[in-house]
Amino acid sequence: MLDTAKTRWHPIAASHDLPFRHVFHAQLLGREFAVWRADDGYVNVWENRCLHRGVRLSIGINDGRELKCQYHGWRYANRTAGCTYIPAHPADAPARTITNRTFPAIERYGLVWAAEEPLGGVPEVEGLAEGSLLALRGIPVNAPADLAVERLRGYRFQPSDALDGNAAEISIEAASAFSLALHARSGGAETLAVFFVQPVDSGRAVIRGVLDTAEDHPARLAILRRHNEALSKLREAIEREAAAMPAPTPLTPEFQRVSPELAEMPALSADARKAPLRVQAARKWQAAEGIAGFELRPISGLLPTFQPGAHIDVHMPNGLIRQYSIVNGPGETDSYSIGVKFEPDSRGGSAAMHESVREGDVLAISEPRNNFPLRRDAVKTLFIAGGIGITPLIAMAQALQNQALAFELHYFAQSQAQLAFPDRLETLGPALVPHRGLSPAETAAKLRELLAGYRNAMHVYLCGPGPMLEAARAIAAEAGWPEGAVHFEYFKNTNEIDDSTSFEVALARSCLTLQVPAGRTILEVVREAGVEMPSSCEQGACGTCMATVIEGEPDHQDVYLNDAEKRAGTKIMTCVSRSKSPRLVLDI
């Protein structure tokens, strides 16, 4: 009786069955696997079914990092088998983790081993030294594995160094339910051959022989050929015998059910942020250490006009939405280029862009919005960028450069390698001043130096990490810069948002009075009432959801408005800010 224990390791392929970017179709105890080696060497053993519509992944495409299903182009990641891209839904791809079933795999003795629920390790074989073995071609046999093991006892072969005899003495060194170790001696030559029999199904098996002969033995081909001939004869004999016996019932693998949430058709994206444009990641490159550049080209038609300082929302394959500034110079209107810094601690937006998005992928993006406009009437403009904060400022600097207006771009970065978009920076000539590897104190001293000497009609634009912006704004104020001359854009709002208040909001133009309870935002409540409101970052940093306050006292929690604007109380960021007065009247 065939032992069908799922806890036992079995070979399912030879290592040489996994050449560069191949997908191998394997089977064990009735269950099919798609087996593929990624370019990093990792061997993936997966259920041979795309979770979408059940198409075999063994007919998929191994691109070295991911396996792509042939039917709908879904991509599954090396190691995790998590789905990273669903081409049918570039905009509202659900933020859910679709993960194919994986099985543990070990490479040993030139074979790939797997099991459904393994206990312990791969069988230890004495005398088989790792690394200097010769794996024979797997011989498929239409017979139960136990019959194949039994008949292998009569297998006769010559030692690898004495191929030309026929009188080798064969002894059985070890035997188990699925393997047999045979030793051949002839004169001084001897060879250990271990045969592992893979139970493909109840009535099918593969004989996988491994010799203790070196992989690069000069007679390698002759050895392989001899065994191939002898094993093929043995196969015929075993199959004749098996054909005379009643055929065992095939094993039927059980497929795990997908989780209830994955079984539901995902609802249309509830996010009201719109992404009407479809672009293709035409080029992805390393724009600096840790920063990926993306050139996004329209799928059809023209891209809308952007202004320097504008950003777009990118809707990612994992359902997240992130904002990126367009770095293009004036006149570059056939594509948008953006820079994405890899943030290992983030919630997965930058990781999705770095790891999942590939050249050729389709992304849904918003139209460009400019909440960081550039004045071009300054006698001199200072741009102060920290790290990835260069992106809106590089667009602005290129615009001023093109008009021959006076500016300096001071770019603070850890090192030369972290200066992003060097080709664009180069076009700025001496107006670009990099400041590399400064400590916070040195940065502050440098900012003091740069911000000294304010003259009327000078403007400064700041973009960078929060602490640097805080320092720069304070230094500018000390140095006599009026608030209206200091323009800034934060990456994110790090303020802790207090949403515990409840208040009434009246929409003057829409003639609606709504209640904003604790835990909900003005933006959500307004949208729920059917009033369209644009938004982008939804954390009080970008300025897209700004509304005019007609009456009432706003409770500002954003980082978009400057202090004078906050004091004036005439504008509010509806995504995070609330009301100090019981009632707020907005011009919506």
């Binding site: 099919e32 041979n48 079914r49 979770l51 979408h52 519509r53 059940g54 198409v55 075999r56 007919i59 042939q70 039917y71 709908h72 182009g73 669903i86 081409p87 049918a88 839904h89 570039p90 905009a91 509202d92 659900p94 679709i98 497929f255 059910r257 997908v258 989780s259 209830p260 994955l262 079984a263 539901e264 058709m265 995902p266 249309l268 479809r278 293709q280 799928i299 059809s300 050729g360 992928d361 389709v362």
Partner: protein, 302 residues
């Protein structure tokens, strides 16, 4: 000789099923085929009469026969260019395709192809647009135009059929009469568990729609003969050109369908992972479940 039918699903048993294209059947000659695991013979008379019966020794394939005079016939009819029969009690009417009667249309059997898959899997493939850029590359779709836009699906209680409307997909070469890429409009109907009718923008007349139907003949639960009916507005291309186009398309689907696993369509909602593009397939699976279809599917556990 009466035998217990091999298919015990009354819903499937009591349907009209297609056997062959009338135009490809030699007149007055016994032809053999398989329907629901039973050997069935059929013949077409010179006046267009059709007949079908359970195969028997006295009427071997190839023998000359008068279609009108055969004893112990199964119900049969000629419709949309095909011979139809049933092994159960046939419903009075076959679903309507009114466009078939329009005089200026070309009507032809584009292909009859054997596919090792269940009929419902083949229907789902016919309803699916998401695979166009990947399976019918540069013909019915092309990267990066991969998006399946939101469309509407309803199960019409009155007509007992599924209707998917407002379907649109970018096609680089939508048919033999098209010369450049365009967004093409589609309407899909599933009026029969194993048949579907597709309407798509006509490249020669923007007010009318080409009709392409797939009629699946279930040989058993996991093998079909797919009959592809065309009813199109195209006065320029030869039959063989039109047929070759559809045969190319279907030839691309066949290896995908034959690698679907399991071959029968699982009706358990947790067997596979749907996305919004699969709305029509989800409606189809529900409809089959509601009808109580068990043949060619893996019914959801009760």
């Amino acid at each position: 000789m009466t035998t217990q039918p091999k298919c015990t699903d009354p819903v499937i048993l009591n349907l009209w099923h297609p056997l062959a294209a009338v135009s490809e059947t030699s007149v007055g000659t016994v032809m053999d085929t398989v329907l629901l695991e039973e050997r069935v013979s059929y013949a077409v008379g010179s006046d267009g009469t059709v007949a079908a019966w359970r195969s028997r020794a006295d009427l071997p394939a190839g023998s000359r026969v008068d279609a009108g005079s055969i004893a112990e016939q199964l119900p049969s009819k000629s419709a949309y260019g095909y011979v139809w029969t049933t092994l159960g009690d046939a419903p009075a009417e076959l679903f309507p395709i009114p466009e078939f009667e329009e005089p200026d249309r070309r009507r032809l059997n584009a292909a009859t192809m054997g596919v090792n898959v269940s009929a419902p899997r083949a229907i789902e493939n016919f309803l699916d647009m998401g695979h166009f850029p990947y399976v019918h590359t540069d013909i019915l779709g092309a990267e990066p135009h991969t998006e399946v836009k939101e469309y509407d699906v309803e199960i019409s209680a009155e007509r007992d059929e599924i209707l998917a409307t407002r379907c649109r997909f970018y096609q680089p070469m939508a048919s033999t009469a098209s010369t450049e890429g365009a967004d093409v409009d589609y309407i899909y109907r599933v009026p029969h568990p194993y048949c579907s009718v597709l309407y798509k923008s006509s490249p020669v007349d923007d007010k009318r729609l080409d009709v392409i139907a797939i009629f699946l003949q279930p040989m058993d639960q996991e093998h079909v003969r797919a009959h592809m009916m065309l009813c199109v507005l195209d006065e320029d291309n030869e039959d063989k050109i039109i047929k070759r186009f559809q045969q190319t398309i279907f030839g691309q689907d066949k290896p995908i369908l034959e690698n679907q696993f399991p071959k029968r369509l699982p009706l358990d909602p947790r067997a596979e992972t749907p996305i919004r593009a699969d709305k029509s397939a989800i409606a189809y699976r529900r409809w089959l479940s509601q009808k109580g279809v068990t043949y060619g599917v893996i019914p959801a556990a009760a």
